[in-house]
Symmetry: C2
Subunit: 156 residues, 2 copies
DNA sequence: ACCTCAAACAGAATATAATTCTATGGAACT
DNA sequence: AGTTCCATAGAATTATATTCTGTTTGAGGT
């Protein structure tokens, strides 16, 4: 795909914040008729600029209101140890996000559980059984100030 | 709203991972006909279990592939200083997420920019102009291992 | 055990939006 | 100026969302 123009970026920005608009509504927002807007959105999907559409749930209402960022240091830094760690992490549903990071620790996890009691349980039973882990450090989320759920769109 | 049953949770889980299914498809997945599924989803939206629907974009393709977690310590801990900090952060588009956390630092930011050069620019110009900030510490994301974009659904 | 009521359901009917198609207009190029 | 290409508007069509109706199921009460 060539380059995205102003309208494409505007559409991405809108859809990233709320994808429930009808094509007609989108058309009005970018001052076009529905058909070119439809084609543009399909092209953005086809070319991977839009990966997928998802529903954002209310964690509190689902009794999943307790978020923790957990730093992880591995015991050793073999390729196989790292690979095993990743594999284990993928299967733990409380781990919502996982990043390989620079610095004092090797990984940063975002964990979501019901409450502190469940976090304790998570650390002992779930992380406790991941043998590649050397040490951990927890940062508890006291409140979520801002969340735009992913990449922003540069308006250049 | 009373309590969510098995089917509601299943619908939430499906929609959280991919909200592009038609009502008919959802119906097949949960072994019901389209109308009750439609009503259930509408109820989940109306009662706030589903907050909204969004498009997930490809940060790499949008030249926004460089993620950093930035720890922030405030100069002081007045209510007014904290409030001002939050206000400033809300207006910085590179800051995708912001949490008030426990521990050595006061806040954790997730920042997304084009590359290291732009991060440097972000730190000097954007964070640099937020006067309430005392010190910062950056954890660079070398790779994203896992991301499920928000709350998981407990399958209890 | 029977009755009553309310809720959830399947299936049909309708409304609305998505998607496709066709023809037009303008910009770039020759 | 003529030609080609591409994005567009608007109409036509198709698919889906949404509403409606009648039926079934299950809980609570007698």
């Amino acid at each position: 795909m060539e380059l995205l123009d102003e309208t494409d970026l505007k559409l991405l920005k809108i859809l990233h914040e709320n994808s429930s608009y009808t094509t007609k509504e989108l058309a009005q927002m970018v001052n076009l008729s529905p058909s070119p807007v439809f084609e543009r959105v399909k092209k953005l999907e086809k070319n991977g600029y839009i990966k997928k559409y998802i529903a954002i749930l209310d964690a509190e209402k689902l009794n999943q209101g307790f978020a923790v960022f957990t730093n992880i240091k591995l015991k050793q830094h073999d390729r196989s140890i790292g690979h095993k760690f990743v594999e284990d992490i993928m299967n733990i549903e409380e781990v919502i996000e996982c990043y390989n990071i620079s610095g004092d620790y090797d990984f940063l996890l975002k964990v979501i559980v019901r409450d502190m009691k469940h976090y304790q349980d998570f650390v002992f039973n779930k992380l406790g059984s991941v043998k590649s882990i050397g040490s951990t450090h927890s940062m508890f989320v006291m409140s979520e100030i801002k969340n735009s759920y992913g990449a922003g769109v540069p308006l250049n």
